[in-house]
């Protein structure tokens, strides 16, 4: 009983946090009157205080403002790359599920190989091919996320394909592609939505990690991984420059995971 209450509190906190971060991404100016790029040589490395709740950085920029504006890039990459990966995953997975066995077999061998690598490593290899840059980071983390979606989409397709109503529809002479679009794809969406929620978190971490390594956007872009990396040399003097962006990344990912798990449990409960 106590556990359930705690779970609920956690879930509400997570949802609230995600709402706030999304608001930061969409309308950063609500949260801060300052500009993330404006420097101020009289306010260098000021510790957190009323006017600068997260302190200031080496060129006097407000860290809080930079973190707030950073949400749009990180969330944008997280949501955008996940959505793109989801679409590719559904298309390829559904087609594989409907394809002749040997085509499906070959495709799945490839996917299984890719699945053995964690997303971060795949994204890193993708960057090796694409080259560094903000767009390429988004592409790389998206590409890295695709295999998982393909697998689930294919598995769901196989289940749905053998179900009574699909068999019936095909018996009535409906074109297989149409069956796929109207019956199979909607059914794969629910389980995929659950992994995608958690996937947004993974994608944000992977993108921030690549930026941290200097492969993504560059200063003065306020991107969370880059902000963290920019504070690396200041750990001894000005911990706040690196600390707050890290907190934001971690909390965002924790929240996405909590919500995703909750959705998964709900899905299992209904099944």
């Amino acid at each position: 009983m106590r556990g359930r209450v705690r779970d609920r509190v956690g879930l509400i906190a997570a949802v609230l946090f995600l709402v706030v971060v999304t608001a930061m991404a969409v309308a950063p100016w609500i949260f801060t009157p300052l500009d993330p790029l404006t420097t101020d040589t009289s306010q260098i490395l000021q510790p957190p205080a009323w006017g600068h709740p997260f302190g200031t950085d080496q060129t006097g920029r407000d860290v809080f403002t930079r973190v707030v504006y950073g949400a749009s890039y990180s969330l944008g990459v997280g949501a955008g790359a996940t959505a793109a990966a989801l679409i590719v995953g559904i298309v390829v997975g559904t087609l594989a599920g409907l394809a002749p066995r040997f085509v499906d077999g070959i495709a799945m061998r490839g996917v299984e190989i890719l699945l053995a690598f964690p997303e971060f490593l795949l994204a890193l290899f993708a960057i090796a091919v694409l080259g560094p840059g903000p767009i390429n980071v988004a592409t790389a983390v998206g590409v890295a996320a695709v295999p998982a979606y393909i697998r689930v989409a294919r598995a769901e397709t196989l289940v749905v394909r053998r179900s009574g109503y699909v068999e019936a529809a095909r018996g009535l002479g409906v074109h297989p592609l149409r069956v796929a679009v109207s019956h199979i794809v909607p059914n794969t969406l629910r389980p995929l939505g659950v992994i995608a929620t958690i996937g947004i978190g993974t994608t944000i971490v992977a993108a921030a990690g690549l930026s941290f390594l200097g492969l993504g956007p560059q200063d003065p872009t306020p991107e969370w991984g880059l902000l963290l990396s920019g504070g690396r040399n200041l750990l001894g003097q000005a911990w706040w420059v690196a600390f707050f962006p890290g907190v934001l990344i971690t909390l965002t990912v924790v929240s996405a995971t909590v919500v995703g798990r909750r959705l998964r449990r709900a899905g299992e409960g209904r099944a």
């Binding site: 060129t59 006097g60 080259g131 200063d219 920019g230 040399n233 001894g236």
Partner: protein
């Protein structure tokens, strides 16, 4: 055991230092008596290693010059005040027409692989520098570039270097590690591996022998026990006092500083100005202003935006450089006024020090007058519907201080409606853009102990001429300056060039870098050269 920082320091030293007995002695007397001891290891933390660019004859990396100096000797040596003293050459004569330099060589010098140093070795090395296959830009320019006519062996201990026209910087350049000597055997047998370098390949006659190289991690040097040919006047004349020099690659500046203060390393180079406050009183800090071209912006005069001198002037006076340099470097580095650093021998024009100043109003007026008078929605100036915008390309990784300075410059210029787009490109992409001339400005500082460095930066077709300047009058001035040995006349010519640039704003000097070396009280006797780079041959550990 790991309860206090102090106790780790002892444990860390034990792990690091090979000669355990000496270290135990050192640790048992924490106050330090300052008495020198023979042997032991000094560890030196630096920011990068010259991976793939270890060949002294082709590498242009300062770090390679620093890390190869222990291994390679030169004909002469340059003292920190710029004077030239004998080293592997005991004497030299310059012909009256200044086209021939005849060197008398020491006859007791051997390379660490046992080969003998003689006139043939000098010739083999100088021939290697100018061989196109060596792909050398800096060393081949230091040796005289197109003016270099050749080296001939007169007898085993006499060698003559000839030029097609007088080349004044030669003696100073001959002191550089870029004109240092490989064992001729290495040149003959391992020519293709020199860039990779390493034990058995980076073989010279210096006081240390490179004995281990792990790229990205460490370089270990052991002392050359036979060494007995130090430059004239050097404090240490015989073999080095320490047994081993252990160079650690520590890219993050904060990590280098902490490694020093925690006792993990004894000496650090390229110390970040911002971290000086963390280094206590029991450390020795030497800071040396770098001679040569200060850290500057090179405006590409062939591009529409910077072809107009008014725009270039507005650019250079349009942001508050004093405040920016002060903010980033905390009063450690000084802002630059000229395209030569104040310590460049016989050339600096101190009169420029008040000439340029931040004046936003004047810059705004100048831009208005130049036709950039409209403003777009973002507040940037436009002319004929085109935004006043410049593309700045930088070679990554961009050092953090320079990145901060760039932010301040960008933000300052934004206030006068001048957009600067800063593209930090990874080496491959940078090269593509640089070689194609697809940029409006780029940045670097170029260390050099001779003002002739301007020839490569401003001369038509110069190998560092990022501004793409081509001006016959400048070329002529550069050519007469390099041909003159008269120091007053040289200084006049270089003053003229510095003033010309102040008026034309082709190069925008930003700050004078300093090489900051910090060492603990465990070591003594580290000397620095004209660049501020450390020399370890006279260094020793202290009790």
């Amino acid at each position: 055991m790991f309860s206090r920082p102090g106790s780790f320091r002892i444990a860390g030293s034990l792990a690091l230092v090979v000669s355990a007995a000496l270290v135990l002695a050192g640790c048992s007397a924490p106050a330090g008596t300052g008495e020198k001891v023979q042997g032991g290891t000094i560890s030196f933390g630096v920011d990068v290693d010259p991976v793939g660019h270890l060949d002294v004859h082709s590498s242009q990396l300062d770090i390679n010059a620093i890390l190869q100096r222990p291994v390679f000797d030169s004909l002469v040596s340059q003292k920190p005040d710029g004077t030239i003293v004998p080293w592997l050459a005991t004497a030299w004569q310059v012909s009256d027409d200044q086209l021939q330099y005849t060197f008398t060589l020491r006859d007791d010098v051997t390379f660490s692989d046992g080969e003998k140093f003689d006139a043939a070795a000098v010739k083999a090395n100088f021939d290697h520098i100018v061989d196109p296959a060596t792909e050398s830009a800096q060393a081949s320019s230091l040796i005289g570039g197109e003016y270099y006519a050749g080296t001939e062996v007169i007898d085993p201990s006499t060698v003559r270097v000839s030029f097609s026209q007088p080349y004044a910087p030669f003696l100073a350049n001959a002191a550089s590690v870029q004109l240092g000597f490989y064992s001729p055997k290495v040149l003959a047998e391992h020519a293709s591996e020199l860039k990779a370098g390493g034990p058995g390949i980076s073989v010279g006659s210096g006081p240390f022998i490179l004995s281990k190289y792990t790229p990205g991690s460490e370089l270990v040097y052991t002392k050359n026990p036979d060494y007995n040919w130090a430059p004239e006047g050097a404090t240490a004349q015989g073999p080095a006092s320490i047994d081993e020099l252990d160079v650690k690659i520590l890219p993050e500046s904060s990590v280098r500083t902490s490694a020093l203060t925690s006792g993990q390393v004894d000496v650090i180079g390229d110390t970040a100005p911002s971290s000086l406050t963390q280094i206590g009183d029991n450390f020795t800090v030497t800071s040396t202003e770098s001679p040569g071209v200060p850290y500057s912006l090179y405006l590409n005069v062939t591009r529409p935006v910077f072809s107009d001198v008014t725009v270039r002037k507005a650019f250079s006076d349009g942001f508050d450089l004093d405040a920016a340099v002060k903010a980033v470097f905390n009063d450690t580095y000084k802002r630059a006024y000229s395209i030569l650093g104040p310590t460049t021998p016989d050339s600096y024009d101190a009169a420029l020090e008040k000439s340029t100043s931040f004046d936003a109003d004047a810059a705004n007026d100048a831009l208005d007058a130049a036709g950039w008078s409209e403003r777009d929605l973002d507040g940037y100036r436009t002319k004929d519907g085109k935004r006043l915008s410049a593309r700045w390309i930088s070679y990554t990784p961009v050092n953090e201080d320079n990145a901060n300075l760039a932010n301040l410059i960008q933000d300052g210029l934004k206030k006068i409606g001048f957009e600067v787009v800063h593209d930090q490109l990874e080496p491959g992409a940078y090269l593509d853009a640089y070689l194609a001339g697809d940029y409006d400005l780029t940045d670097w500082g170029f260390l050099s102990a001779d003002a002739d460095v301007l020839r490569s930066h401003l001369g038509t077709g110069g190998y560092q001429n990022a501004s793409h300047l081509s001006d016959p009058e400048i070329d002529a001035t550069l050519a007469s300056a390099v041909a003159t040995t008269d120091t007053t006349q040289r200084a006049e010519l270089y003053t003229k060039l510095q003033q010309w640039n102040a008026e034309n704003a082709v190069i925008v000097p930003l700050y004078v870098p300093e090489y900051i070396l910090a060492s603990s009280d465990k070591v003594s006797g580290i000397e620095v050269d004209i660049h501020g780079w450390p020399l370890f041959s006279g260094a020793s550990l202290t009790k």
